[in-house]
Subunit: 432 residues, 2 copies
């Protein structure tokens, strides 16, 4: 009898253990259902601090948590480490990279986004982007290696190019990366080299639009620009990248010789729209244009949330691709599924609540826009730090990140200046 | 004048930033010489805790420190990230993988050791060893992945093989790995899986010799064996491995089906003896048989120290391959070089001071042999922990490792349960 009852429980499958997928899973805790969360990585990642791993301030484990550990006590949830290779909408079944199949009654797709090179995929190897922990440790290795190679370079032009770092895109990630590289070069590494002067490191932040941090009010953008310039970052606004190579970055006629380029410009949704088939409407970034209830057009039992969805609210405004939006969407579909399971009326259409925007540009310069209040400078910086520590998923990580930040604040040291994953030989195989 | 004086300064080159090389560099702080330390990795590694990275208890950055940062204030020292490809003894010059050459007046070779498979190099891909941070994160990924694959395995025999871990070699690394895997399986991961019972994980420790921890007195070996058995580790003594494959480990007629094998048996010196040429005497493990002053036979200005050297003391006893011995050798050659630079009498031959042996077998079971005192159980464990924290190179790491250990002690949690470096696709390319 018990076995038969178990068989009859509805099967909810969630693909992706990011902010959206994990919020949905947790909000379904009380569901009389079998929830399966599939992710190709074993960890939930706190992406807003990923740039700190890429710039050697934090270790990977400090911003990641095993999904399995997060859901340990939630008895209706099973976690599977696998990768989705396709969705059969008609049969209501996922196919997985391992060859297994996974049947569902309700599906939540929360597979996030990746980098977009606007049709120039060849730039990817020269200008890596920052989405996963592997991306972050690879960028960390490139940045640290550029200083090492500059130290032994004999050609002055090559040395200058090694000491030039170009960051493409002045959204939060680009701005935060530029500030962090400036502090790494001008503070942390100062006095450690004998043949180069890391104070002369050139950091160039390139933005096609007219201002940095475009999601912020213009006054805060202006403060961000000033803070970047105080750190010695060269900001090039209104300039589009026309080429990336092992030699440097081209901005039309202009050419910046550099050996390290970091891509923080475009995002492109994961392959969810492709899995859902050609009849699924999508926007230019590949995001599924979902219904007002976040379901995929034509499939009321398939929800698409987070960066994978092009959702609108309040009469056509696009929900932004930020962590709070993904969490809100996750909770919204969970409420919707619970209502259906319990035969209650479905909640009203998804309405995004803008909780504001935060960014930091190195030590003591934070930008906070909560709508009703705007902060900058030291106050903004402390607010930024407290919010990020608060939202870290695990108490241990909160203590350990606080400790490392305090340590860096006191000493300018960085806790994770490691070049790992392959030694020099592997390194030399990488471009350029 | 100043430039000419600088030119005339003797050039001391140290290859390797491990315990031996770094001790030598620091002890040469007052030398009127130009010291160049070359390492192919950017970090000094605290190898005694490497098994804790491999078993997800610590993060790589917690047991590593940039060599450059360690020597930041030592103005006579330059650090170069490069790999030695050869030594020209006659010309007194190193060739580097980058193509550069490095002239020396005095050379210290401290390049450590690697794994030895006793002529079965084909076993390496099935039974990885533990020497670098990359080794540790690769083993961590294999261990965590075995549980993930067991969770979705449909064939019971395959599931059992995935939940069997074989460790070859019962020296300190093998014993500590076995204890840590037992705790990971039986404590940390308990209740996180839905289809497997991690309590049934089988950990087999295989040792060709007659007892575990052969460097310890027999009574402590016996206590170590008991502690392992209490943790549920199967210990097979006096059994030599005859084959390793993707199917498991063979011990003559016996076969243990398993998907994870960890090699903690033989060590082999790095290529120093090869670089020094065929006339250099070496032992079976490839270690250079150095003179009583730790110089290479025939080259009074080339010293070989640490695991790369087969040094003897006190009338023919072999200096063991442990961190304190490498440090003592580093300091000894530094004193010797300083005496030569200052025209003083050379110190007496190197004499190793045995500072004792430590090992830990999971929570609350430490083994300490300091000669004049022997500890085991809780007391040995606390002593082990304090000593290891004390010897960590950086204050920040001491605080952070203490915090993580305290956290694990209270919760059985592990701070770094991450599978990184390549996602599932990369994974499936690895054997089997």
């Amino acid at each position: 009898m018990a076995a038969a009852a178990t068989e009859a429980r509805p099967r909810i499958v969630i693909v992706g253990g990011g902010f959206g997928g994990l919020a949905a899973a947790k909000a379904l805790k009380s569901a009389e259902a079998d929830i399966t969360l599939v992710d190709r990585r074993n960890h939930h990642l706190f992406q807003p601090l990923l740039y700190q791993v890429a710039t050697a301030a934090l270790s990977p484990a400090q911003i990641a948590q095993p999904i399995r550990a997060v859901l340990r006590r939630q008895k209706n949830a099973t976690v599977i480490l696998d990768e989705v290779s396709g969705i059969d909408r008609a049969a209501k079944r996922l196919t997985l990279a391992s060859g297994a199949a996974l049947a569902f009654d309700t599906l939540i797709v929360a597979t996030g986004a990746t980098h977009a090179y606007f049709g120039h995929d060849g730039w990817a190897s020269f200008a890596p982007g920052l989405k996963s922990l592997d991306d972050a440790t690879a960028i960390r290795r490139r940045i640290l290696d550029a200083f090492e190679r500059a130290e032994v370079a004999t050609d002055p032009a090559e040395r200058d190019a090694l000491l030039t770092f170009a960051i493409v895109g002045a959204g939060p990630t680009g701005v935060e990366m530029a500030g962090a590289i400036a502090e790494l070069a001008h503070r942390t590494l100062a006095r450690e080299f004998r043949h180069i002067d890391t104070m002369k490191t050139r950091i160039v932040l390139i933005e096609a639009g007219p201002r940095v941090l475009a999601a912020m009010p213009p006054a805060l953008s202006e403060k961000g620009l000033k803070a970047l310039q105080r750190l010695g970052v060269e900001v090039r606004l209104g300039r589009a990248v026309t080429d990336c190579s092992g030699k440097g970055v081209a901005l039309g006629e202009d050419f910046i010789p550099c050996r390290t380029i970091i891509w923080a410009a475009g995002v492109q949704a994961s392959r969810a729209a492709v899995w859902l088939g050609p009849e699924t409407p999508r926007d230019r970034a590949g995001r599924v244009q979902v219904n007002a209830d976040l379901s995929a057009p034509g499939s009321p039992d398939i929800f698409v949330i987070g960066d994978t969805a092009a959702a609108t609210y309040g009469g056509g405004k696009l929900v932004p691709g930020v962590a709070p939006a993904a969490k809100q969407m996750g909770k919204d579909v969970a409420r919707r599924i619970l209502a259906r399971l319990r035969g209650r009326a479905e909640p009203p259409p998804f309405a995004y609540k803008d909780q504001g925007n935060l960014a930091t540009i190195g030590r003591g310069a934070g930008l906070v826009d909560l709508g009703w209040i705007k902060l900058s400078g030291q106050l903004g910086w402390w607010f930024w730090g407290l919010v990020h520590i608060f939202f870290l998923i695990d108490f241990r990580n909160r203590v350990s990140v606080s400790l490392d930040w305090l340590w860096s604040y006191l000493t300018y040291g960085r806790s994770a200046r490691l070049m790992t994953e392959g030694d020099r030989r592997a390194q030399s195989a990488a471009p350029p």
